[in-house]
Amino acid sequence: MTDLTNNPSSADSADYGEDTVWVQEIAFIDSVPRWIAMTFVFLVFIGTWQFVTSFGFVSPIILPTPLETLLDMIFVGKNLVTGGYMLTSLWITMLEVFYGFALAIAIGFTLGVLVGETAFGEKAVMPYLVAIDTMPKVAFAPLFVAWLGFGIESKVALAAFIATFPIVVGTAAGLHAADENARMLFKTMGATRMQTLIKMKLPMGLPQIFTGLKIGAVGVMAGAITGEFLGGGKGFGELIRIAASQLNTPRVFSLIFYLSFVGLALYLVVQFTQRKVVFWHKERVGSHDG
């Protein structure tokens, strides 16, 4: 039993006891905590950034140094905290996102139920939705500006327009998630169509519906900002556009940084709601439960 010739690390074999001939090897990355690995990647990223900028590979007008960006982030942060003009802009953008998302949920869910639940919707309406969904939807932005003007409405409309489709598709797909057994069971119980929808199909489809909501949450941000780029106004997108036109790249970077906080917050709100509502469904993405 003490045939240690197979053991590549026979020198340390004394640690493993007499009967151990084949020692399980643990990959290095598995032994490193996630936060250390993430910090490492972050440092490499900042290091490369610093290297590229401070040695003059890239003009400072195109790419500011990490320090410049940090200082500008502090400046923008101060303005936001003290209720400066940037906070007003951020508030406008957040309102656009909020109204756009609410509108997208209302329209998307209703349309999704109609399409997913009726044979007519499935047959006649769904192909159009899929066709529109494949279009680059931001291209509609000038149209919304022409229809609704330069105010908040055109941005809300574009944001809602972009976010509606994933919610429709998610809801329609969710209604088809119920398996044959569940449908048969509800039939044997003499359930009405409404009961089947509310008590079985919708709850069973919630995971897909929330997937649609998450994709929509990402899209609604993109819609609002695109709307601001193209339709002016007083939102955060306008601040970014102005900063970029003045070649104030540190400002652009820090504005984007704060903007992504809003997007992340919205996404996390949806995810948190999902965990509360769909408590029985364990997500298998694993990126947040590492």
Partner: protein
């Protein structure tokens, strides 16, 4: 039209007829496949009947007709003196999958048929009955557990309760334990026998397993495909209550062999 049906003496066990089928046929309009042809069947009160046959012999069609899920093309389908024209409260059904809904606790799942038919208040009123059923299947203490935390066997026990909560006159069992491992399956079959005796239930089981059919049934309906029809009804005169040990007796083996022979005969058609 009458195909030669080799009837054995069926020697009806026990009580009065509960479920009667006369010359029931089913032709699917879509592809003109004759799924069932002239099926005659009588389920008597307190009896356990199994149907066995290769796939395509029409046994699921038969079950769906008996459950009131699809109409027959021809024939009489009568349960407790009333023609079956749709799903009914006095028909209980159980599937291969437990099909418990993960957002409801065990007891809420069991009360679902009442909730659907009579509303939430009636379901609340039936809570005591649901708990009694849970006790009977050995799930006491699991009332408020979500299905995710139940094993496959426990989930099927809960779905037995859900089937029984409306106090049906007939139990239609569609391969209820075939998704379980063999050890659990044997145990659940014995449980099923006990529950059927306690409830004095009339049961109708669709299965792929000859052994399972023989150990549980008073009568076994052997079906053949193309067109789906009853080839023979075999009476199982093993004493009750049945035990798993009976599966090793020569008599049991004889019946199993006989049915296997009957099933094989159809294969060259």
């Amino acid at each position: 039209m009458s195909t030669a049906l080799a009837y054995k003496e069926t020697g009806a066990p026990l009580g009065a007829p509960v479920y009667e089928l006369n010359r029931v046929s089913k032709t699917y309009a879509r592809n003109l496949v004759v799924a069932l042809e002239d099926v005659d069947l009588t389920l008597r009160h307190g009896s356990f009947t199994s149907v066995i046959g290769s796939s395509g012999c029409g046994k699921s069609t038969l079950l769906k007709i008996m459950a009131g899920l699809i109409p027959p093309t021809q024939g009489r389908v009568v349960l407790q003196g009333e023609p079956v024209t749709g799903p009914r409260r006095d028909i209980g059904m159980m599937f291969q999958q437990a099909t418990l809904f993960p957002w409801k606790t065990a007891v809420e799942n069991i009360l679902l048929p009442i909730e659907i038919r009579d509303g939430k208040a009636a379901a609340k009123a039936a809570l005591g009955r649901a708990n009694k059923l849970l006790d009977m299947v050995g799930l006491q203490g699991f009332e408020n557990v979500y299905p995710n935390e139940l094993s496959g066997g426990m989930a099927q026990r809960a779905s037995i309760c859900r089937m029984l909560i409306t106090e049906p006159a007939v139990l239609l069992l569609d391969e209820p334990f075939s998704a379980l491992d063999e050890l659990s399956r044997d145990m659940m079959n014995m449980e099923l026998q006990r529950i059927c005796r306690e409830q004095d239930a009339t049961a109708f089981l669709v299965t792929h397993s000859i052994q399972e059919a023989v150990i549980l049934s008073d009568e076994i309906v052997v079906m053949k495909p193309r067109p789906g029809r009853v080839a023979e009804i075999v009476k199982v005169d093993l004493p009750r209550p049945r035990t798993l040990e009976m599966m090793t007796t020569p008599k049991f083996g004889e019946i199993v062999e006989y049915i296997r022979g009957q099933l094989d005969k159809g294969e060259d058609m």
